[in-house]
């Protein structure tokens, strides 16, 4: 076991961590916003809205992320004159934006289904009660549906978060040097695949560890408070003389 090599490897690979985190955060934030819109479209009950949402989810959940990434990067790259005319080329020229776009679109599809599940789980009684109190649909959505739906969807969404964090490794295929990209480069230079991939794996393991803890914490915060610790039973002081 070559400890100094492992240490050097770990340090080099950690250099890719900011980009990995950046890609994860941006694609999850953008994708999350997209997912919310898609989920609301899907549950709106209007064919004009739910139809496109269904089609979107069908396409983006039905094809591999790697293909989506290549389609955005190399595929759209072939339409450079058209994109230049639209003024979009400076966006698509950059592999970083292409990666964020592809990953956000992908996670939006998955997450919208997760949120839809959460929305479907809101008890009808709660909705009726809200209506009975005189809440209009938007207020009902904001005060009743979304808080309950998001709480319900959180465990499944945590899974999606972890999957996205690991999926950023695909960005290395379009020249972005994040953790996996750096690992591949180091292996190419040293041919020591086992040690380097082990180090890269360790970094992802730690990353997902903290991610899952964060989701757990959020889950706990959003749960109706668990019964607090029973107040200490009043200590009975017997003041009188013992019998």
């Amino acid at each position: 076991m070559d400890l100094s090599f492992l240490q050097a490897t770990l340090l080099t690979l950690l250099g890719g961590l900011p980009l990995t985190l950046n890609l994860t955060a941006c694609s999850v934030l953008l994708g999350g916003a997209g997912a919310l819109v898609l989920a609301l479209m899907r549950t709106s009950g209007l064919v004009l809205l739910s139809g496109p949402a269904r089609a979107y989810v069908f396409v983006f959940r039905g094809t591999p992320l790697l293909i989506q990434l290549f389609m955005v990067y190399y595929g759209l790259g072939q339409f450079r004159p058209a994109l230049q005319e639209l003024g979009l080329w400076s966006f698509f020229r950059d592999p970083y934006y292409c990666a964020v776009l592809a990953m956000a679109m992908n996670t939006a599809a998955y997450a919208s289904e997760i949120i839809r599940g959460g929305v479907a789980s809101v008890p009808p009684g709660a909705l009726e009660a809200a209506s009975a109190c005189g809440m209009r649909p938007l207020m009902r959505l904001r005060r009743i549906v979304l808080p309950l739906a998001i709480r319900q969807a959180l465990p499944a969404y945590g899974n999606e978060l972890v999957l996205m964090a690991k999926a950023t490794s695909l960005a290395s295929t379009i020249t972005l040097m994040e953790v996996t990209g750096l690992a591949g480069k180091m292996i190419a230079q040293t041919y020591r695949a086992v040690e380097i991939f082990a180090c890269a794996g360790l970094i992802y393991l730690l990353l997902t560890f903290f991610l899952t803890r964060a989701v757990l914490l959020l889950e706990w915060r959003l749960s109706p408070r668990r019964p607090r610790r029973q107040p200490a039973p009043p200590t009975i002081r017997i003041t009188g003389e013992p019998a």
Binding site: Y74, G77, R80, R93, T173, K185, I187, A188, Y191
Partner: protein, 284 residues
Amino acid sequence: MKTLILASALLLAAVSATVTVTGAAAQSKPTAITIATEGAYEPWNFTTAGGKLDGLEIDLANDLCARMAVRCTIVAQDWDGLIPALNARKFDAIMASMIVTEKRLAVIGFSEPYAPTAAAFMVEKTSPLAKLPGAGTTVDLGGDSAKVTAALAPVAAQLKGKSIGTQTATSNTAFLEKYFKDSVAVREYKTTEQHDLDLQAGRIDGVVAQKSSLTALLAKPDYQGFTLAGPTFVGDVFGKGIAVGLRKDDTVLKEMFDKAILAAKADGTIDKLAQKWLKTSLMN
């Protein structure tokens, strides 16, 4: 001993390359071998639209196998996994336009080279880089260092701030990082086809690759708007030529390949293949 058994059981022994396999009994002449290529480096080795492997190295491999009187299976494998997989005994030889370099020699063995190597830049004709200084000259990077510096300085000045694509884990990448680290942004791709696409899309300003491969590429209609630029680079990181990659302990196989390659060179087979695939002579 126990760890060694465990390691080989996990197929790690060969991969980690720190554990060398020793004590191989007197090797007998193999009757069947597997040769790996990349299958994405036209015209040296590539995959046809029908999914078949073709190219100079495929023809050459078949010729060499006939000379060695062994049955050959040719397989395709990702470029950056070729050397680890060879040492893991997934196949017996690499013929993938692989250049003999010091770094690779530390991990695997090589046969006699079957082709010399030279690298060049390819850029868009309309790009300012098309007038890269030094066109028509050859810079021997292994030669007199003062001369090399003098030849590279104007090239580096013009490349300042440009992004250049190369295939990851190649001598071309090593070349850029050693000589142009301060001037260019190196963008690394899994295959040369990918950097060619990005050059066409205008995401990068140029690519560095083997001149023979670029020359063949420029003959295609899609690449009419592109041209070679600047000097031709040989020596140093570009090593001692293209050779068959072999495991260090496969001495018998090396001897067989050496003999076959020398014979193929002597009777003009290799030059004929070069004319067919590269439209140029290799023996310059």
